[in-house]
Amino acid sequence: MMTVSGGLGLGMQACRAQRKIPGSIVGASAAIGHMLRDKAFEAPTVFEEKQVVIIGGGISGLSAAMHLSKAGVDDLVLLELEAYTGGNAASGSNEYSKFPYGAHYVPIPNNELKDYTAFLEEAGVITGYENDLPVYNELYLCHDPEDRLYINGKWQEGIVPNYGLGQDARQQFARFFEKMAALRLAKGQDGKDAFAIPIDTSSSDPVYTGLDTITFKQWLEQESFTAKELLWYANYCTLDDFGTTIELISAWAGIHYFAARKGKAANAHYDDVLTWEEGNGFLAAQLRNRTQAEIRTNSLVISIEEMNGKVELSYFDVQQQKVLGLRCDQCIVAAPQFINARMLSRSEPERVGLVKSHMEYSPWIVANLKVKAGLEERNGVDLSWDNVLYEGNGLGYVDAGHQKISLSQPVKNLTYYKPLKGSSNAEARKAALAKQHQEWVAEVLSDLVKVHPNLEQQLLQVDIALWGHAMIQPLPGWIWGETRKKLQQSIGDTIHFAHTDIAGISIFEEAFYQGLNAAKQVKRFL
């Protein structure tokens, strides 16, 4: 009920000057990353010899490492610039729960992704099979209540707008989902699924790939989807998965979000998701546990060059503040292309321009809010895993402790997501880097006080993870265009690429297969 808080300190405390809320800005170390752009490093004098080197310890790099270990490659080093592995799937923890700094869930996988499901089985996520259908560990399937949407003054169940909608909007939603259900089953002339995961296994039938030349918004208009709630919902989804609005994103990518998930399970539905307190940090740790690679963190790779059939690379050891050299037979570059282009600038100077003119990355923040019990709630459905505000400023928040099975949760960690807007991504990035912690806090609060009026009083700490280049934006022409193919090409027989940005869209499965395919390449040439 209410609190009759003590203290005579009224008046003296003046109005509500915003209390300074503790916390910091964490996440991808922009400062270290920028050294690559701004600093001139000397060249290493000695080169350590290794068979295989992987650059980048995100999901793509870790997946490559796991698959190489499985294939028996043991002279293997992974270099990661941060102090920890995981990349965009990194996570943190405090005394109350673990929580994600970035990626936080995966949908149940499509059944034909055998390598992926085999990994999930090893990780205990799939516990067995019934009638050939995977049985998912119910501790990891998202617990109920899964999601809620604050719309028209109430929390409704599910995030597809429903409460207080007019007849026309309802009909449009029904038609929209019918359409997507049909596209989910659609196949091209070549017999392949029109929308598949990994996307490179999708049909190249122009009937479908043609959708990559228009924006999702244009497609929605063509199909006479006009209801404001439906447009909001579609926009919410593309922002959530790609950090890109329907006005900008390619129609093919937009539809992919709705039509590519077709997993079947003994105890789950195709649109169910798997999630953990620490988000995809759980899967990152599972990958890492399955490789024998020597992992060197705090290692910023500066340059890579092919030299007489070998690869020579130099990296900056952030702790020792020293440039070191490595020479290897095979190298997997599992970092994003805007960074790769700089590492390769000596031998392939045209890359920087190519990336700059063809690749757009959206910046994001992820705020972890440590909140005391007693958060005020609006009417409707209880706190759920995913909590979204209709027409909110961000994408809402996830209750990181949702998957916990313990009853005692005196403090909650809420993870708030927001792709950043600006006149361009570069502008938004610049503005974000200039912002102070308290400004971020105020920004997050202004969005969430609408649903939790006493949030500010209950806040114990806010940590902001700032992702300057969070994810690749699948703008028209990117997925089915030539540049992406060009950038995927290995350099000679020795340097191979693996990252979700050249996969076309940024999701866990793509990263997993990027790593797997690069590992296969390496195996071929060893």
Binding site: M1, G6, E138, L141, L407, S408
Partner: protein
């Protein structure tokens, strides 16, 4: 300006200032009533509009009544001011204390709003009359109403931003009461000569002032007192732990334990519950040596288990250390469980059952599960198939478990959902129920993977209630305890049990 003229001006401003105060305080009382109503009765839209409407209407009544005041205007004015201060000031503490004990809470609330509204409604016309000879009509109306509306604005700004967050409702209400009273005291002194029976008025005003200042200082105690009044009997122990609020009450015949205001047991009939919970399961195991109790920090189930001499170890896992501490050390309570928690056979662990189970490796012959009802998503997880599958890790094929499963009469869907969930996890089950006066009709489900679940020929330990013929009765369910629809299995990712439970109990308490 000569001195009398100055005097007149000063008088005017003082009176106008008191209009401002009345307007502020009046609106604050109204806001307090609205907030309180939406806290305790819910549905803030209805509560606020009812209260605002009633308040405005009552001001109208006040204005109407003002025509009967024609003499001693200043005296009336001060008296009404004092009365507003008194009633408004104590409104929140009064409502707080009375909420748990009276039936017509809404009525009382509206009644207070009517009184305050009427009094405030009288004040403005009174003032108009007092000042009518001192100002032109034009000036008069303009000033009085300006102050009135400024007051309203002030109130609606400071209430949510300053007062509720910093003082809470009870203190806010008293604070404004005090201001009202202080203003009336100032007026008393200022208009010494013009007010009738001024000494008496001053005296009463100071009395009210002292009362309210004291109440302000002891606001926390008032809050606690309200808490206690919500129990019929004397509260002999109350404590909020991180997990729950534990309250123990006592009257001549019985002790009652409440967790978060839900009755857990009454000493008068708890034996019916605990005998029914423990003995059928215990009697269905050939040789019981190791017993696990999940929940049940009150030690009453343990008391029953200790009656079996063959039992070697009893492991009690209860989340709340305060519960097990209380029931080991509090004289009355330890008396009730016959010091069961202090027996050498008993080990206590204060852990979350689900987490404990994930880490546990021991195997038990019998498991007694006495969790709170599945009234939240957190508790619902403890009734899920995942939980029961995990439970198998501490069972052998012939182990017998029993689960308290809420009332099959009030909540048949919930009860049979637990049954179905257990069956889906490969348990055979034996559902039964009995009557526990302080709870009503209560249900239990006994289950085992392979042991045939029988009606015991005898209950080989001293009991007050259970016997073979009685147990036979318990296994029969009347039609009104059977579910009407097909039920789902309770899983972490559907939490159907919590939904059934909420539906059924809400329906029941709504009647």
């Amino acid at each position: 300006m000569d001195s009398t003229q100055k005097q007149v001006v000063r008088t005017q401003w003082l009176l106008l200032f008191s209009v401002l105060i009345i307007a502020v305080c009046g609106l604050i009382y109204e806001l307090i009533a609205g907030t309180l109503a939406s806290y305790v009765l819910g549905d803030s839209i209805t509560q606020f509009s009812l209260i605002i409407g009633t308040y405005m209407f009552s001001m109208g009544i006040g204005s109407f009544l003002s025509k009967y005041f024609n003499k001693d205007l200043l005296t009336w004015f001060v008296q009404v001011e004092l009365l507003v201060g008194l009633i408004g000031g104590i409104s929140a503490p009064l409502l707080f204390v009375l909420f748990p004990v009276i039936d017509g809470f809404q009525f009382l609330l509206l009644f207070l709003v009517v009184i305050i509204g009427t009094l405030v409604g009288i004040e403005i016309p009174l003032l108009l009359k007092i000042l009518k000879d001192k100002l032109s009509f034009n000036e008069l109306v303009s000033r009085v109403f300006t102050f009135d509306y400024i007051g309203a604005l002030l109130a609606s700004i400071v209430f949510p931003l300053l007062f509720v967050p910093h003082l809470g409702l009870i203190r806010t209400s008293l604070f404004f009461g005090i201001i009202n009273v202080v203003v009336s005291i100032i007026l008393c002194y200022y208009f010494q000569k013009q007010i009738k029976r001024v000494a008496l008025l001053k005296f009463s005003a100071f009395l009210v002032l002292i009362g309210q200042v004291l109440a302000f200082a002891f606001a926390d105690e008032i809050m606690d007192y309200g808490d206690e009044l919500s129990y019929q009997d004397k509260v002999v122990f109350a404590k909020s732990t991180p997990y729950q609020r534990i309250v123990l009450t006592k009257n001549r015949e019985e002790l009652r334990l409440f967790l978060n205001s839900n009755l857990q047991f009454s000493s008068r009939d708890e034996y019916r519950y605990h005998e029914a919970l423990v003995h059928p399961a215990m009697s269905n195991v050939k040789q019981v040596k190791n017993v696990l109790v999940l929940g049940g920090g009150d030690g009453l189930a343990v008391r029953e288990i200790l009656k079996y001499p063959g039992v070697e170890n009893i492991h009690l896992v209860d989340l709340d250390p305060e519960m097990t501490r209380l029931f080991s050390s509090h004289k009355m309570l330890a008396g009730l469980n016959e010091n069961s928690l202090k027996q050498p056979k008993v080990t206590i662990e204060n852990k979350d059952a689900f987490i404990w189970l994930k880490e546990s490796r021991t195997v038990y012959d019998c498991v007694i599960i006495d969790f709170p009802d599945p009234s939240s998503f957190g508790l619902g997880k403890l009734y899920s198939n995942t939980f029961y599958n995990l439970l198998k890790r501490v069972l052998h094929p012939l182990s017998v478990i029993v689960i308290q499963s809420t009332s099959p009469l009030v909540a048949p869907k919930s009860f049979w959902c637990v049954n179905k969930t257990l069956q889906a996890c490969g348990f055979r089950t034996l559902p039964y129920h009995n009557f526990v006066p302080s709870f009503g009709e209560w249900g239990y489900i006994m289950a085992s993977q392979q042991a045939p679940l029988n009606v015991p020929d005898t209950f080989a330990v001293p009991v007050r209630y259970i016997s073979t013929p009685v147990f036979l009765q318990m296994m029969t369910f009347s039609n009104d305890m059977l579910p009407k629809d097909t039920l789902e299995i309770n899983k972490l990712n559907n939490q159907v049990l919590v939904k059934y439970f909420e539906q059924e109990w809400r329906h029941y308490t709504d009647r």
